[in-house]
Symmetry: none
Subunit: 221 residues, 2 copies
């Protein structure tokens, strides 16, 4: 699934993002209502996790506006408030579920999984790149109708290329996707993964830009 996390607390945001990612979902994390609004306009999400107290307004306002546009994306509210009134207000505003801070990450997983279950059967959004058809949420790739299996590391790199068609990623950027930020690596691991991905995705799929990095070619054939 593709999940939008709206949460301005850095620590909590990171923890939630890590948890949801580990559960196999793609997470976009924004820290203000302004960002949330542009995100939902540009990307189709399967689930929105919404904090209520945000620097530029109250989550309910965002939620009401979202529902007013006819958007039915499931929304789970994350908030420190545990008052019944808030809970009812939230559900009236169109929330699907409610999590009171501090909450256990495993509980969050369970709620998210419940939403995912409801979604099963509905098709996920597909990204098309050349002769590849990518289901980001389910981590599936079809190449000319044939499924392609990527390992975890390969996926981590591949997702980077999908950010934008034809995006150029430097070796440092790719390394940052695999390891702790800024970790030095002195072997040719990235090259090896590129080589393996080419074997699976087609040798023309990833283009070397010598001295600068790699790019996924949107118009391979």
């Amino acid at each position: 699934m593709r999940v939008l996390l709206v949460e301005d607390t850095t620590g909590l945001g990171e923890a939630v993002q890590d948890q949801i990612s580990e559960d196999g979902h793609a997470v976009d994390w924004v820290q203000s209502l302004a960002f949330a609004e542009t995100s939902v306009k540009t990307t189709p999400y399967n689930l929105i996790l919404l904090d209520l107290m945000l620097p530029d307004g109250h989550g309910f306002d965002f939620l009401k506006k979202l529902r007013a546009t006819g958007d039915t994306t499931p929304v789970i509210i994350l908030t420190a408030r545990d008052q019944v009134s808030d809970r009812i207000t939230g559900l009236n505003a169109g929330a699907d579920d409610y999590l009171v801070k501090p909450f256990d990450l495993s509980e969050l997983s369970a709620r998210v999984a419940a939403v995912a279950r409801r979604y099963r059967g509905n098709p996920n959004p597909l990204v098309r790149v050349g002769d590849l058809e990518v289901d980001l949420a389910d981590r599936r790739i079809d190449r000319n109708g044939q499924p392609v299996e990527l390992t975890a590391r390969e996926w981590a790199l591949f997702e980077g290329f999908l950010q934008r068609p034809g995006i150029l990623l430097s070796r440092a950027q790719l390394e940052d996707r695999l390891y702790e930020f800024g970790a030095e690596i002195e072997s040719n691991t990235i090259e090896v993964y590129i080589s393996r991905m080419r074997k699976k995705l087609g040798h023309d799929a990833i283009v070397t830009v010598r001295g600068m990095g790699y790019r996924l070619e949107p118009n391979e054939h």
Copy 2:
């Protein structure tokens, strides 16, 4: 993405510039509001990182003026102040996000990436020079619809010409873009690269100013 960094502290400015560059974005760094104002007039940015305490005024004034002109470029405020009042004032003035010094560079990366995410699917801003169409972030050049491939060294020089339209670059300035500052070079390497670039970009693209240097011709045909 193309990022404008407005920050008068040298140490912090350099660190931020390095980080954003490594993330694959093009950074213009200015140290005063006066320079910032001319920069936003001449160049289209995807993101502005704005310090508040600047030698010639307060960042809020710049931000308000910017918004008054209808400019909606995302702005992230960098400041030592962590008071709620400032935070709210900033967001009211039209800021999209807020980073309190001292901040972790990886956190900065995350915020910038969040902005970059908004541009997912959107094309990068293109710079137009004569019959060339340049995508600085992805290092692509289209010449009359045909892609042009530049090597790393050629790009380093080409970017110099793009800093300002019609800028004149001396041989020494060009050498400084390729080698450690002040490195003496006694062969005609620069001439050779100019020659190679002309072959790829069109023979009229780069004009020789005898005895002075070279300039990229904005109105070639």
